[in-house]
Symmetry: C2
Subunit: 212 residues, 2 copies
DNA sequence: GCTCCCATGTAATACGTTACATGATTGC
DNA sequence: GCAATCATGTAACGTATTACATGGGAGC
């Protein structure tokens, strides 16, 4: 139920087409939401029927008309109303962590490989976000203006970057942990290890993170 | 498509009923997945039809029969196959960050209030997770055994705790940022502020997080 | 020649959530 | 008395993803 408000929020800043909106979702807004064109187009039609947005068609050569949407005052009202209501609780779904949780079933080297590959993916994502954020702030610095909009969006983008950085750090730490505990995966002597056999590695790993 | 593997993974550790599985999802596995009973029960039936799990009904008084599921060797095979395939990319949806991104539309005091309320929710969640993790590790320490299973699940749970801690920190920092930049939300003199008017606050906020 | 970008959308399917249905037991 | 826990499930609805449909222009 939040997609529509993401669209309204975006249109509260600038007029845009469905295609433009999708690019924003892939780009900066990607740190907190994602969506497909086949979901955005129907949602835009609904929002227009409900009079929260209006559109004007701009004819183009060789392409379908470009439909530029603008937010209405009614649309701004519902946006602000939504901003003041408590957010839906986050619905955590992290397929990689789910796999990781059960990786005692695959060899330690495979575990390390998977962690390294996943880390790489996260690093690429981080670079992409950093690049987008830098571009945004360059143009803001040039225009030499400052608004609440800029501060609050910067805060959200910082959170996105932080998340990536910390996921990458976790991958690194966990690679080291698994490397130092490889023997536990060894099928031949898997039977009886004691807690104290790895308590040093465990406490190093958890140091400064938990207090168990 | 990952729910089924979460169920299989869980059943690779111990036999369980749908109700038990739901509790695990709410509890420890909650750091990376969540699901409803009305989704778990049909999935269990599907998995049984596909011969990945088997069940035995245990009659009870005053309650419906308890159906205890066990994983089959075929089920273990598909679990391991899944563990070796690349995970689906995470589908980020964070309704609170989406709201935050557009909070220049509501008064600064409301923004601070929302951040404080959200922070509180995260703190409660953190306490719940910490509690569950501590319980788990107590019983492991008592039994004085160590397996790959324990190490790898600990790593995932650490990630869950980290995430909460860092979200809470971000809330705090952002509350301070908004407090020190309140004047930007002031509707009367919203017109013309310069980048340099807040560059100190911004660089303090971004210090050690970004290098822009 | 092939892929990517632009630009719109529909249809079919898959996945997820809320509401409905039943009912005994335990604790506040 | 009321809510929570145990225990199973179905039905209706909502959201999200993939596949299908069209087609010109740019760059390799």
């Amino acid at each position: 139920m939040s997609l529509r408000y993401g669209i309204l929020g975006l249109l509260s800043e600038w007029d845009a087409s469905g295609y433009d909106i999708k690019k924003e979702f892939d780009d900066l807004m990607g740190v907190f939401w994602h969506s497909h064109l086949s979901q955005i187009y129907p949602e835009l039609n609904k929002l227009e029927k409900e009079k929260f947005i209006t559109s004007q068609s701009i004819p183009q050569e060789g392409k379908p008309d470009k439909k530029i949407y603008s937010i209405t005052s009614k649309g701004k009202e519902v946006l602000i109303h939504w901003l003041l209501t408590p957010p839906e609780p986050p619905k955590i779904k992290d397929p990689f962590l789910m796999q990781a949780f059960f990786m005692d079933h695959i060899p330690a080297d495979e575990v390390i490989l998977k962690l390294k590959m996943y880390k790489k993916g996260r690093e690429q994502r981080l670079e992409k976000i950093k690049h987008a954020v830098e571009e945004r702030f360059m143009s803001i610095k040039e225009r030499n203006v400052m608004k609440a909009r800029i501060i609050i969006s910067a805060a959200v983008l910082k959170r996105g970057i932080q998340q990536e950085v910390q996921y990458i750090n976790w991958c690194e730490e966990t690679i080291q942990l698994v490397e130092s505990c490889k023997f536990l995966w060894d099928k031949n002597k898997q039977t009886e290890f004691q807690y104290t056999d790895v308590s040093d590695q465990l406490s190093a790993y958890f140091f400064n993170a938990l207090d168990i």
